[in-house]
């Protein structure tokens, strides 16, 4: 089993991690694998299958939605979301109790993911960094919200394939006035 991701490694930030063609050669099947994983993740989250989504995450996963634009680290700033696996499980359990009124009725979500760029991690063996952009529509009470932003995933090769060791979500409107964001981005 691959050892856990050290807390000290840097968080991938899409806007500061742009490379030119040929700079990060990788096997073509790796890119297909990344694309498939991101599509499966999107399908599970859009379907509200959040417990099954947890199966895509490593045990030491960290999920981060920064509040500040171009934030570099979650520790010393207020974040929209900063969860480990237990908190993600709590987040899902809270909705499952039926008493989380901000998700009653639940959000209906559809997301598109595109502009996928991936490369091997330079800091960690068996890890891939994948940047993508998303456009997500969410409705509740017949109010429609449209969000765009960037996903940056740190993926680890485990026994059954790539798993998500870190996920950061940079919302284009992260530090603006926001409505209810109690669904998983």
């Amino acid at each position: 089993m691959t050892p856990p991701t050290p807390a000290t490694i840097s968080w991938p930030l899409a806007s500061r991690d742009i490379w030119l063609p040929g700079e990060h050669p990788q096997p073509p099947e790796q890119r297909r694998e990344v694309e498939e994983l991101l599509a499966i993740e999107a399908a599970l989250l859009d379907a509200g299958e959040t417990r099954r989504w947890l199966e895509l995450l490593t045990d030491d996963v960290l999920y981060w939605v920064p509040l500040a634009w171009n934030a570099t680290s979650p520790a010393e700033q207020l974040n929209l979301v900063y969860d480990d696996r237990q908190l993600l499980s709590d987040r899902i359990y809270r909705i499952e109790t039926g008493d989380a009124y901000s998700q009653d009725p639940p959000s209906r979500v559809t997301r598109l993911i595109t502009n996928i760029r991936c490369r091997p991690s330079e800091e960690l063996a068996d890890h891939v960094i994948a940047h993508s952009v998303f456009c997500l529509t969410e409705t509740r009470h017949e109010r429609v919200g449209t969000y765009t932003g960037r996903y940056s995933h740190l993926l680890r090769r485990e026994e059954h394939g790539l798993r998500i060791a870190r996920k950061r979500v940079d919302l284009t409107v992260s530090d603006h006035v926001l409505p209810n964001l109690t669904f998983i981005l």
Binding site: A7, L62, V65, L67, A68, A75, E76, Q77, L78, N79, L80, V81, Y82, D83, D84, Q86, L87, D90, R91, Y93, R94, I95, T97, D99, A100, Y101, S102, D104, H141, D175, H176, V177, L178, P179, N180, L181, T182
Partner: protein, 431 residues
């Protein structure tokens, strides 16, 4: 709504009820902006945001955009963010440091104390250029600071800021002194909104009736984590008290509940447990305990969390958070919520204060969004039917008066009655 005279309003607030119009009526909202937000002390910022000469933040006073700026001499100014020429805003950023504010439409430039320093092609104004220069950016005339909290008054103050805050001063002091070196706002804040009236948030901050009900899902999460769903709100016989202070200020007081946290299975509520929810929380707390000792570590995390204070009309201290409401319309309100840290507190204490905010607050938290959902639902439901009265008399016959403070049980509406008494006083709608 029937047309009302500009001087007096028929009673919209009585001791035991309010009229639903105070939440829904557009004309009353305009009157609130004039008679409350321009005619009492309104919170506009914190000293830690404008510590150095040149520091500024942009905010709003009622619905008006304003700049809170500290000039080179260290003086604070609250300036309307409006060029005196064509009216364009002169400052575009939410915060920063600048000696000058320039309107980019015709290049008029102001110092950070509001005075006009220059106008391109000035000969067109002839001798009257001096008139403009003496005018400068329009300012809010009264600005004061108390224990780090900066308030403005756009009318004629009936009392000084310190007199206005005096009834709440022991709470402000307790908050300010709760961390070494005093509190500092962590930037950026949460910014979020709901489709409901601003007063729902002011009520909710000191409403001890709703937590056991609206926040049941959070309590279940805590219960699953700790093996006990204890919380101080679970019974109306519990240790929580609410207070209506003079001038519309109000308190939800958890002090007694906190001192019970270690021993009382029914009512205790431990913030150490909330800190433990942070990613890597166990290790962070262990490290803090090794550094400060177990008792001091627990105190550092617990002692800011024992009351909610609502300063009428727009400032709320919710445990370690500073929350400010900004009315937009009768049916829309924006909020900003700052986590606070201690200027000289242990770095891990400050990190854990941020983590504790994230778990409950903000647009993706486990608590606040459920409150906001209720405000949205109130705004939709309240317009239905013929009954205009909204009851406000819960606990009226069991509250006690000590000096000029009225004290009720945790779930009673004592604080709301105090808030609406002040509302009616300012609005000229006393019964």
């Amino acid at each position: 709504m029937a047309r009302r005279s500009s001087e007096t309003l028929s009673p919209l607030v009585e001791q035991d009820h309010v009229s639903r119009e105070i939440y829904t009526d557009a004309r009353l909202f305009q009157l609130e902006m004039e008679r409350i937000f321009r005619n009492t002390w309104v919170y506009v910022g914190h000293e830690s945001q404008v510590r150095h000469p040149g520091d500024y933040v942009t905010t709003s006073l009622g619905t008006a955009p304003v700049i809170l700026a500290r000039d080179e001499d260290g003086e604070l100014h609250l300036l309307y963010n409006r060029c005196i020429h064509r009216g364009a805003t002169v400052c575009q950023d939410r915060r920063g440091n600048a000696n000058f504010f320039r309107c980019h439409y015709h290049g008029w430039t102001y110092r950070n104390n509001g005075s006009l320093t220059g106008v391109p092609f000035p000969r067109g104004y002839g001798d009257r250029i001096e008139e403009l220069k003496s005018q400068g950016l329009e300012r809010v005339p009264h600005l004061g600071s108390h224990r780090g909290f900066i308030f403005a008054h756009a009318g004629e103050p009936a009392r000084s800021l310190s007199d206005h805050l005096e009834p709440a001063d022991s709470y402000l002091e307790r908050f300010t002194d709760s961390v070494p070196g005093g509190v500092q706002l962590a930037e950026p804040p949460y910014r979020y909104s709901y489709e409901g009236n601003w007063k729902y948030q002011l009520e909710n901050a000191v409403d001890g009736y709703h937590p056991a009900l609206v926040h049941r899902s959070f309590m279940k999460v805590m219960g699953q984590r700790t093996g006990s769903e204890r919380n101080p709100y679970k019974s109306e016989e519990g240790p929580v008290r609410v207070k209506a202070l003079p001038h519309g200020h109000a308190v939800l007081d958890l002090m007694k509940a906190r001192t019970m946290s270690a021993r009382d299975e029914d009512y205790g509520d431990s913030y150490l447990e909330r800190a433990r929810m942070a990613p890597g929380g166990d290790a962070l707390i262990r490290e803090l305990q090794e550094s400060l000792g177990e008792e001091e570590a627990a105190r550092a995390l617990e002692n800011v969390n024992d009351f909610n204070l609502a300063i009428f009309p727009n400032l709320m201290i919710i445990q370690s958070q500073i929350r400010v409401l900004y009315p937009v319309s009768p049916s829309r309100t924006e909020l900003q919520a700052w986590a606070t840290v201690g200027e000289q507190a242990h770095p891990l204490v400050n990190q854990l204060r941020l983590r504790m905010q994230e778990v409950f607050n903000g647009p993706a938290g486990f608590g606040s969004p459920d409150d906001l959902e209720m405000f949205d639902r109130c705004q939709v439901g309240l317009t239905a039917g013929d009954v205009a009265r909204v009851p406000l008399w819960r606990g009226l016959d069991r509250e006690e008066v000590e000096d000029d403070v009225t004290i009720g049980r945790g779930s009673d509406e004592t604080p709301l009655r105090g808030q609406y008494k002040e509302w009616a006083h300012l609005m000229g709608s006393e019964s």
